[in-house]
Amino acid sequence: MSITMPEPDAQVLARRARIVAGLRGIVRGEGVIDHPDGLRPYESDGLTAYRQTPMVVVLPETTQQVAEVLKWCHAEGVKVVPRGAGTSLSGGALPLADGVLLGMAKFNRILDVDYDDRIAVVQPGVTNLAVTRAVEGEGFYYAPDPSSQIACSIGGNVAENSGGVHCLKYGLTTNNVLGVEIVLMNGEVIRLGGRHLDAGGLDLLGVVVGSEGLLGVVTEVTVRVLPKPQTARAILIGFATVEGAGQCVAEVIAAGIIPAGMEMMDRPAIHAAEAFVEAGYPLDVEALLIVELDGPAAECDHLIPKVEQIARANGAVSARTSRDEQERAAFWAGRKAAFPAVGRLAPDYYCMDGTIPRRRLPEVLQRMAALSARHGLGVANVFHAGDGNLHPLILYDANQPGELDRAEAFGNDILRLCVEVGGVLTGEHGVGVEKRDLMPAMFSDEDLKQQQRLKCAFDPQQLLNPGKVFPVLHRCAELGRMHVHRGRTSFPELPRF
């Protein structure tokens, strides 16, 4: 555990009873939890290597309560960590010992659906899949589909700008959200965007999405819903080499085809998935591609032979096309179960999330194998191949002294490698706690300070989810200071005051 959180404020901890009482004045009954047994379920999110019991948990039910809680905490100088369903893989909802954990699970209603405007207005605690369930009767769905969609909440999706296997074609959360209601740390309730495109003004909605719970607490979300494609078919293609699979992906895109999904798995991931769900994956290949095409049946019929031809030209050793929905689901079953499947190979696994330019994939996998040997830990790879988003799963045993630290060191080396080849630290899981201290690998000091100045515009006391995303916390007054610049003049011809 290499990441340290801000030192708890002893004065705040000493006031715990008063803080609990103050919160009970706003949220009655069971909505405030302070008993140790009640706090334990909140001590971590999907990044279970990090745990911290929160000072107190509050579960508000109305925007008004959220606003009052935040306003009260703001006045008292108490930190707040918002939490959706707690499925973050980057520790975005990791509590603070001296902080209030603000759970949004009770915001679980779908408020409005308008099929003419193709929108749904939902509360943030509604699960991702529940949005699709609410509209599928009319032939609609909500496009972003993170693997955790059965559990993860829309509010969390907004905070993390979640993706999924279909985002090359249909975009991430940010491309599918039209409006939000948020509460700022001072209790102010603000609406950004609306029920339509281009609501005007600075695109504050665009920065709130993906802000990892640092800018405001989302209390309502308006999303776009799309008509479900008429058909979807998947092709399962095995390759003798990773290079062949990578080249196939590039040539599919070069042929003008944007598949609904294009997923790659390496040999360890294929074997783990097949052993787990018996999806019918070939076991004698080095890389497996799932290419899914959707749209009218005529489009799928037209494109499937094209993709098969490109695959053969790049050395595919097997190719099967789904004949019905059952078979398509079977192809996906292995991929969707890849994380738990790999989880059976070792007591623990650590999921990484870098993005690379796709053309660098063979080199990255080779260097990752070398890192695997150096750190003495296995790794399996699943890859959103269409958009270059790599999920290496590092295998370790937390009960073996030092293995977690080695897994983290290995993971950090992988992410630095992603940045080195022109990629990024995180494609869809967020920075959170996990990648916080790696941010300087990708951004300069000034880049990070500029981002933090944005934070100051929303939350000048930095009470909302501090300790996440940014490796060094600067005070807003310090960030805002202007320094005399270099002390020289490039344009002496300019008239001056």
Binding site: D114, D116, D117, R118, G171, L172, T174, V189, I190, R191, G194, R195, H196, L197, D198, A199, G200, L202, D203, L204, L205, G206, S211, P227, P229, I253, G256, I258, G295, P296, A298, D301, H302, T355, R358, D387, G422, V424, T426, G427, E428, H429, V431, M442, S444, E446, D447, Q450, Q451, R453, L454, F458, V469, G480, M482, H485, S490, F491, L494, F497
Partner: protein
């Protein structure tokens, strides 16, 4: 009074110095790309023009990666030709404002397009400039170079500042370089035209088409089309592989049982039709032009509230975007837009009207205050606050 001096920095270092000098001296800078949108906003103040023309190189373009990086002053037309030569396109469908504002086409730069959030008819389904700006490099109002986003198509590392920069109209930072997502250029473009529908039926038709799985790319309604004897034209665009477009065209035919006259136009004619929609070619030039966005289901309320003539309206984005020519009181337009759950931007007007009328729809007080704080976060001394907006 002599014309204001102008600056033309040749690199990021010089640009940073120019901005820092201006902040120190209390001068204001007006960031200039190609000047195609100069007639939007309040007329020129005493700000110094900051020309970005040196930042005009294509830095990197790797078609299979779907990523293009170019200097902010690269002409839009140059980038469109470049990606077209590799069978790709800028999917947010940018267009050149020159004709809308009574000038010539061709001056637009990619930085200006991004800064103004320009997106054409396909924005309905393919996203706006904000959705396709992956990363950028800029110099802030502090005179500091910074980058945000990245040069890959999928990234959530740090705040999504590219979203904020798109549509910021040069009020946060001077963009020097942008990285855009590009997409394959569709093999076929087919436009289905329906002639003679009234507004209510046209909005119904577009909503029905958008609800269907026919994957309609764009949808527009021209209430008074000169090419069709001043009758109305409602248009649906289908793009993609020929086999798919053909199937979806049949799907649309089966879906819409229409009394009106129908026709299909393809290829060049289709491209020109939609370019005319983007630049409001059907509306009378030289009159005040407003751009209203609102939920399509409520947009007809604007027509009613303002008592608009057929000739003075144009509907894009299946009714979610409405361009109007209106010579009455600006407050009436804003009230009508708000009444429909939307907002109105003043695009074209006389210098006098532009000086007296805020370009952008006034936000709610809390949002306005937050916007001001965000602007100060990038530009603490207001070096880019030229009084234009």
């Amino acid at each position: 009074m002599a014309t204001n001096p102008s600056l033309r920095p040749v690199g990021t270092g010089e640009l940073a110095d120019a901005i820092a000098d201006a902040t120190r001296d209390g001068r204001r800078l007006a960031i200039c790309g190609g000047g195609s949108k100069q007639a939007i906003g309040a007329p020129a103040s005493d700000a110094i023009d900051l020309h970005m023309s040196a930042f005009s190189d294509v830095v990197d373009y790797d078609p299979p990666e779907l990523v293009l990086t170019a200097g902010a002053a690269t002409p839009l037309s140059e980038l469109e030709a470049l990606v077209a030569s590799r069978g790709q396109a800028l999917a947010f469908d940018p267009f050149d404002y020159g004709r809308v504002l009574g000038g010539a086409a061709g001056a637009s730069t990619i930085g200006g397009v991004i800064a103004a959030g320009v997106a054409g008819p396909c924005r309905l389904t393919q996203g706006a400039a904000r959705d396709h700006l992956l990363g950028f490099e800029a110099v802030s109002g502090r005179g500091e170079r910074f980058v945000a986003g990245a040069k890959v198509v999928k990234n959530v590392t740090g705040y999504d500042l590219p979203k904020l920069m798109a549509g910021s109209w040069g009020r946060l930072a001077a963009l020097t370089q942008v990285t855009l997502k590009v997409l394959p250029r569709p093999e076929t473009r087919l436009t289905k035209l329906f002639v003679g529908l009234n507004l209510r039926d046209a909005l119904r038709l577009m909503a029905t088409a958008m609800r269907s799985p026919a994957e309609v790319r764009a949808a527009a309604h021209i209430p008074c089309a000169a090419d069709y004897a001043d009758r109305s034209v409602t248009a649906l665009l289908l793009t993609g592989f020929a086999a798919s477009v053909e199937a979806r065209s049949k799907m649309v035919d089966a879906l819409l049982d229409l009394p009106g006259q129908t026709a299909d136009i393809a290829d060049q004619a289709s491209t020109e039709f939609w370019r005319d929609v983007a630049v409001t070619a059907s509306l009378r030039p030289d009159r005040p032009l407003w751009r209203i966005t609102a939920p399509a289901s409520r947009i007809a309320a604007v027509t009613e509230a303002l008592g608009l003539d057929r000739r003075d309206q144009l509907f894009d984005w299946a009714g979610g975007l409405m361009w109007i020519v209106y010579e009455g009181d600006a407050a009436h337009v804003r009230a009508a837009a708000e009444g429909a759950g939307g907002q109105a931007m003043l695009v074209r007007a006389s210098p006098g009207l532009r000086a007296a009328t805020p370009t952008f729809h006034p936000p709610a007080p809390g949002v306005a205050a937050l916007e001001a704080r965000v602007r100060r976060a990038f530009d603490p001394l207001g070096v880019f606050e030229t009084g234009r907006f």
